[in-house]
Symmetry: C2
Subunit: 342 residues, 2 copies
Amino acid sequence: MVKPILHRRCTLRDVAKAADVSLSTASNALNGVGRVNAETRERVLRIAQEIGFRPNALARSLLSRRSLTIGIITDDTYGRLTLPISSGVSEVLVDHGVSAFLCATSGDKRLAELHLQALLDKQVDGIIFTATRLDVDPPIDLTALNIPVVYAFAAGPSHSTSFVPDDAHGAMLAIACLEAAGCREILHITGPEGWLAARNRAAAYRDRCRPASPVMFGEWSEEWGHAAIEQVLAAREKLPDGIFCGSDEIARGVLDGLRDHGISVPDDISVIGFDNWEVVSRQTRPPLTTIDMELKEIGHRAGLAMLRLTRNEPVDKGITRLPCSLVRRESVAKRPGAEQRR
Amino acid sequence: MVKPILHRRCTLRDVAKAADVSLSTASNALNGVGRVNAETRERVLRIAQEIGFRPNALARSLLSRRSLTIGIITDDTYGRLTLPISSGVSEVLVDHGVSAFLCATSGDKRLAELHLQALLDKQVDGIIFTATRLDVDPPIDLTALNIPVVYAFAAGPSHSTSFVPDDAHGAMLAIACLEAAGCREILHITGPEGWLAARNRAAAYRDRCRPASPVMFGEWSEEWGHAAIEQVLAAREKLPDGIFCGSDEIARGVLDGLRDHGISVPDDISVIGFDNWEVVSRQTRPPLTTIDMELKEIGHRAGLAMLRLTRNEPVDKGITRLPCSLVRRESVAKRPGAEQRR
DNA sequence: TTGAAAGCGCTAACAT
DNA sequence: ATGTTAGCGCTTTCAA
């Protein structure tokens, strides 16, 4: 039984010495490569275990030219999107021994450059760029790097690979849910028309509902949802029986506006949100049925793509739109008949 | 003008060759150490610049035994706390060339071990542990590592160094704000008594207001805020004129409950929250005056402490409580006289 | 089956 | 002022 060395991490040399073999034999034994006597191998393994040997990744990387390290650069200050995405990325990578540097740039160019340079110096095997919207360019140019770049919740140039939520699919899911609940006339209240996500969702809504439907574009805020309800109430006799909101925050404003007027959700009207931002959607009255963008899955896919890229395996180029999912809570009417009818 | 090499990162060797000096001279020139002829230095610098030379951090680290890398391990799945804190950490570290690995464990022990091992293998210079509450032990034991550990929004063992928000100070700020608005009787509605943060804030409240004040412990939810208002209304004749809520979510429930009963905020009663979680506090009607825990500052301090520790400079041991700040919005009455009076 | 030696990219003694 | 050499911890030919 060899005594573990505490003050200094032990090295392969320590193992080799303790096992009375050469460096290369120790290395081969531990990595299971080359011809090593089974008995010798056992001994090396045992001793390595006993003294708590762990290979120095820095030394390995220097030689192998793969650092088992990637960088995640994000625009987000807030964390709403970044943490689920990046933990999704890490989840698939950690099993392959790769760790991720997180660089929050807050959209600051200088900071972004600084981080990027640090990442490059540390020889990251690749970079994943994440943003909070799809139609804004990264604060730094990632197109000329000689390591792979993957975009998650951001759209890279066409020859690159990007993963984004399928807004149209999410919208379809929302409308289908409303229709299944028996809604005949569905209104769409959403964020600024300047946002691609808002336009995509609105287009899907128009496709499915009424090509000429007036979409109510506004802000991504509760206040707007609230104001929109006032507008609707002022402008028309009869309320629609379903409202598809572009975000949970808008939906919350809608819900409040409706309640202010004594209109019951979901009895009088069904409301569905978008985002599944739980701090909002779980706390509304009633709790909000909404669309989840599956951020973690976006992270998974981005991580997987990165893994393949670093191994020179082929990956899909261009923008991959990942399906959303429906989260049922209580703001959409349950039609008892609907289940049976299929 | 030397042509940049694109397929391979250029090395010091390339610089030395191009400048027609030895490796060590090139190294000395670039690092500004040793005796180097001014003219030679210029030339080396210029050439390095031209061919875009950047030193390989891996090679440097191997030699210097400092990887300029730390790990941030977090319990948080959600990101509400982690992103502000970790971007605070990075902000102070990036200028010193250190990058941070982010490891989200979701409280999963296996995952935490995996991440920790990967970090150690990569020779991180230190680890910052972050949690979502102060009174829960990390999923892994960080006390026996031979690298520095700092706790941020988490309380490490007494000989370690931790940075947490000063809950008592935050509570004081809240109460002082209410008092300055003229409130005479302040009620405290907060989260579960099992949470240290809730107890700390409640204790400060009792200290300042009425030692025997009944604190309403409950959940960290809007629903609880709402329910609490119903309870209060049912139990007493006269409403208090100020409510200090343990979280923004609770405050939001309180606000809604009050509105349901036609009680106006801030005219009839002032309400203050805790957290400054903007998605909640900016969207309430009226927008919520609340306490900010200065998460980014916690990150700064943790990062700074880490920097010192890695240089063997002394740092404060034990738990450092960092002041909170007041964010004024519109849920607390403005007393025109209050300003003058001081 | 095992070991000696070279080298990843860099820095730091030590010669010159 | 500059160059030569050794070595950080490891993997990988290539000989033995």
